[in-house]
């Protein structure tokens, strides 16, 4: 009998079970602890029902039925262990092993292989198959996933993953019948930013992790829970550790965050942990050369320098991937001197919103809500590469019927079709946004304190306006690339106005793993009533002490400016896991910091979820956890109110702060008149970006990730086809650019011509300000602030 709440009763192996109408038998069995073997079925993928391993006997049905494709119906009686089922399972196992090489001793999947497990539990010990086995050659599909298609059982999970989850099918079943094989057909890499997930999905050893190949057996590793510090989502994962070394990283299911997936960055970023340039000892510069020193001495020195400094002449820059505890302690120490010169926004150029506003920007909604939106506008966002798992939610929204558009300075490749895609010069972004606002006001007339009379709008703007205004639940999503624009505040304000006018949710994607934590716990100059210096001002000041905490000197900050600032400052202290040329040259004291995986702490993700993590491996050599370093420093400074002894004690104080914070993305509308900068037509504009595999010091050192095509796509100078023709630059030509930094470094780079970049724009991964091309053609690059 079907009850009102759509519940039905079925019987599996004499056990009476109540389930929902429409549930698949295999799911009902799973939920009730009844084991049904399977290969092709996966709860997050569509049903293929091709392997036949999950067959069950259903009373009244003449044949066995695939439990993964059969819905439970009222009073159904299911047997999963009857003689008929057992015989079928044996036959299917024998069949699947016909062409399998049985090379378990040299297979990385050994010990966690469905084929092994099912053969052991359900198979037979011999086979009547005596003929030759087919051989499928492995192919190279990139630096992340190792293939051995000989072991493939054609479950097609990897193929369905491409279509349904990563949104772009790269693997397929080529050929037919017994000679069908999984392949990319043409020799190419699987380039999806989520490609590592096919390693987990593959039930056999056909797809395994390349970087961790042959390093450990499944039973040798200890699994420890971790939070991934590589983007603002904070994906949940398990570290697989052997002898204090991380062997690999696998997803830990959390439906509120990363479901059961991991981006490649989260999965392989940890490899940078073992980079050659880890710092092992505290070192101090004496007479222009570096000497080892003890922690006690070095922190005493640091304390001494801080005490001697004039409070307004202390400056502190901190990486946005640091933990709440580090941010909290460091900013508390700095403020104990009455100094507010601390900032985490190392690459931001426009700080005009930071004086009046104390609110903390965030995503504005949770991920389940995002999936249910029916309209999304990306502004300055390469979300697919910026925060892959967040983009996955937008992709899900798309599959649910959402319409999506994008406005950005380069035409990015999304894995879903866009209603409109506007590409514009950085300086034109605000005009595009104004045009959209103008169109929205035509549809939904309302008063807004901004003059749009001279704005010319086109069909594209109208379509976006329509898309936003006709939606039930729409989102204006301001991406991380906007943070690098000289007009950031104006763009943000316009996005806010657009969302208000169209009744959309205004979402701001944080640029670092712990941007929220950085704001909540004090790594901003406007944290207290006395406004301190922002990162730009700190870099321009003549400081007594400059503290550089947890970031790289090259990509995380403008390297020209940091060199200048460091050479101006009297005493430079670097606290970082990795060394660098620039640090060696300009610092006075370098302290080795433990990485996230070597520390306990917590971070706040883009949805304002606080996630705590434990120390999983011991710090490298003599490096130390950040909170320990900072507590010792506080002690050397004889500061009161640092009586913490452990991370949980610090966290108690943090919770109080978090509860008091108001999260919102409102902008200060009074600033609106300042919007708009003059555009000099002769100038080339530089497009700078946060690159997918350059956004975190550890990721940057993950060699496997650096070998991907995604990483390579950021290594070239890009100009438009039209400009290339005008300047006479050939495809893939190697040119030298001279940048106007202190010693006029020459960068040799090859040029990519593309129609994805607006004319008179130049994409330089390193953000050079003035470029000479080919020694005779000069591109005058627009100064951005």
């Amino acid at each position: 009998m079907i009850t009102n709440d759509n519940k039905i009763n079925i019987t599996i192996n004499d056990k009476k079970i109540c389930c929902n109408v429409g549930d698949k038998i295999i799911d009902v069995a799973d939920d009730n602890g009844i084991e049904i073997p399977r290969f092709c079925y996966h709860k997050k993928l569509s049903t293929a029902a091709s392997c036949r391993m999950c067959l069950v006997e259903i009373e009244g049905a003449p044949k066995l039925m695939p439990s993964c494709a059969t819905q439970a119906s009222d009073n159904m009686v299911v047997q999963t262990k009857s003689d008929k089922v057992v015989a079928s399972q044996k036959a299917v196992m024998e069949f699947l092993l016909i062409n399998h090489p049985l090379d378990c001793p040299i297979c990385d999947q050994g010990g966690e292989c469905s084929l092994q497990d099912n053969a052991f539990s359900y198979g037979k010990t011999d086979s009547i198959f005596k003929e030759d086995k087919l051989v499928n050659l492995s192919s190279d599909i990139g630096p992340l996933v190792a293939t051995n298609f000989n072991r493939c059982i054609m479950c097609t999970r990897c193929v369905r993953f491409g279509e349904e989850i990563s949104g772009h099918r790269e693997l397929g079943g080529i050929g037919r019948a017994n000679t069908i094989e999984i392949s990319t057909y043409i020799n190419k890499n699987v380039d999806s930013e989520l490609s590592g997930n096919i390693i987990d999905l593959c039930p056999v050893g056909s797809l395994t992790s390349k970087p961790s190949q042959f390093q450990a057996r499944a039973w040798e590793v200890i699994k420890k829970p971790a939070i991934m510090p590589f983007d603002c989502l904070g994906s949940n994962a398990n570290l697989h550790i052997k002898n204090n070394k991380i062997i690999r990283v696998l997803p830990r299911e959390n439906n509120d965050i990363n479901e059961m997936w991991l981006s490649d960055r989260d999965r392989f970023g940890f490899l940078g942990q073992y980079s050659q340039d880890r710092l092992s000892n505290p070192i101090i510069k004496k007479d222009k050369s570096w000497h080892n020193t003890s922690w006690g001495d070095s922190l005493a020195k640091m304390a001494e320098k801080l005490k001697q400094a004039k409070s307004s002449n202390i400056g502190c820059l901190i990486g946005g991937n640091s933990s709440n505890e580090e941010i909290f302690l460091l900013s508390k120490i700095i403020r104990s001197f009455g100094c507010n010169n601390i900032d985490y926004r190392l690459l931001q150029k426009d700080f005009s919103d930071n004086t009046k506003q104390k609110n903390t920007n965030w995503l504005g909604l949770d991920l389940k809500q995002l999936e249910q939106c029916d309209s999304v506008i990306h502004v300055c966002s390469n979300l697919r590469k910026d925060v892959p798992m967040l983009n996955h939610r937008v992709f899900t929204a798309y599959k649910n019927g959402a319409k999506i558009s994008s406005i950005s300075n380069r035409l990015y490749d999304f894995n879903y079709p866009l209603v409109e895609q506007i590409g514009c010069k950085p300086s034109n972004t605000i005009f595009e946004l104004k045009a959209i606002l103008k169109e929205i006001l035509k549809i939904k007339p309302q008063k807004i304190a901004i003059n749009l009379d001279d704005i010319v709008s086109t069909k594209e703007h109208k379509n976006i306006a329509l898309q936003l205004s006709t939606a039930q639940k729409s989102v204006v999503m301001l991406g991380i690339q906007a943070k690098l624009l000289p007009d950031y505040t104006a763009i943000k304000t316009l996005c806010d106005l657009i969302s208000q006018a169209s009744n959309s949710i205004f979402a701001i994607v944080p640029e670092y793993a712990n941007s929220l934590g950085a704001k909540l716990y004090g790594a901003i100059p406007y944290y207290s009533d006395n406004l301190g210096k922002n990162s730009e001002q700190i870099l321009k000041s003549n400081l007594d002490v400059l503290i550089l905490y947890n970031f790289d000197s090259e990509y995380d900050i403008n390297s020209d400016k940091i060199q200048k600032a460091a050479s101006l400052a009297k005493f430079v202290i670097v606290i970082n896991p990795y060394s660098s040329q620039i640090w060696q040259e300009y610092a006075d004291l370098i302290l080795p910091l433990a990485t996230t995986f070597e520390s306990s702490g917590s971070m706040v993700n883009c949805c304002n979820t606080l996630q705590k993590y434990q120390q999983n491996i011991k710090p490298y050599k003599y490096s130390q956890e950040g909170w320990r370093i900072l507590l010792t420093l506080a002690d050397k400074l004889s500061l009161d109110s640092f009586k913490y002894k452990s991370v949980p004690e610090i966290q108690n104080d943090l919770t109080d702060i978090q509860q008091k914070i108001i999260l919102n993305n409102d902008t200060n509308n009074k600033d609106i008149k300042k919007i708009g900068i003059k555009n000099n037509v002769d100038d080339f504009e530089v497009i700078n970006e946060f690159a997918i595999y350059q956004n975190h010091p550890m990721v940057r050192r993950s060699l496997a990730l650096q070998k991907t095509n995604d990483a390579a796509s950021y290594n070239k100078l890009i100009i438009s086809l039209v400009d290339a023709k005008l300047l006479g630059i050939k495809r893939d030509e190697k040119i030298s650019i001279t940048t106007n930094n202190i010693d006029h470094t020459k960068i040799i780079t090859s040029v990519q011509q593309s129609d994805s970049i607006p004319d008179s724009c130049i994409f330089l991964p390193n953000g050079a300000k003035y470029a000479t091309i080919n020694n005779n053609t000069t591109i005058r690059v627009k100064e951005s602030i």
Partner: protein
């Protein structure tokens, strides 16, 4: 890649399916492109079909590699397919295969040396059983084959 004539033909096929389901025309499109390219498909042609029908490229490769009517390696412009399925086999197709192979000095699955004729891989039933043994030469069925008949057909090809 896709010439105007082929475009017109493909568009006719697309029109047969509901709007947005243009990928259903993939087999027809591949056949048309194979024709345009005189007998075989290349990766570029398949990519062009994928773009034209807004499909993932790999999905087009899958279709092309699945059906034996599609050749994904270069073949000669004239194609001969000799049926070797049950009715034809009982009526002596093995002998026809041997004879043709000898006469053209090539093997099933390969081109002739002068790259004029391609002997297609073993064919399944071509639905001409009533006239077994039979073969298909460039879309034309030739039934009740004998050695003499084969001689004549091949001579006509020259």
């Amino acid at each position: 890649m896709i010439n105007e004539n082929s475009k017109g033909q493909i568009d006719k096929w697309i029109a047969k399916y509901p709007k947005g389901k243009q990928r259903s025309a993939v087999i027809a499109a591949l056949r048309i492109m194979q024709e345009q390219n005189k007998g075989f498909l290349t990766v570029e042609l398949m990519d062009a079909v994928a773009d034209y029908l807004s499909m993932d490229k790999i999905a087009v490769y899958e279709v092309a590699s699945f059906y034996s009517v599609f050749e994904t390696k270069p073949v000669a412009p004239n194609t001969i397919s000799i049926c070797t399925n049950i009715s034809c086999m009982l009526s002596g197709s093995d002998d026809i295969v041997k004879y043709v192979e000898k006469k053209l000095k090539t093997k099933i699955g390969s081109n002739t040396d002068d790259n004029r004729i391609f002997l297609k891989e073993e064919e399944e039933c071509l639905a001409g059983c009533c006239g077994a043994p039979m073969m298909q030469v460039n879309h034309k069925y030739h039934t009740n084959l004998t050695r003499d008949k084969v001689d004549k057909i091949l001579a006509d090809l020259k």
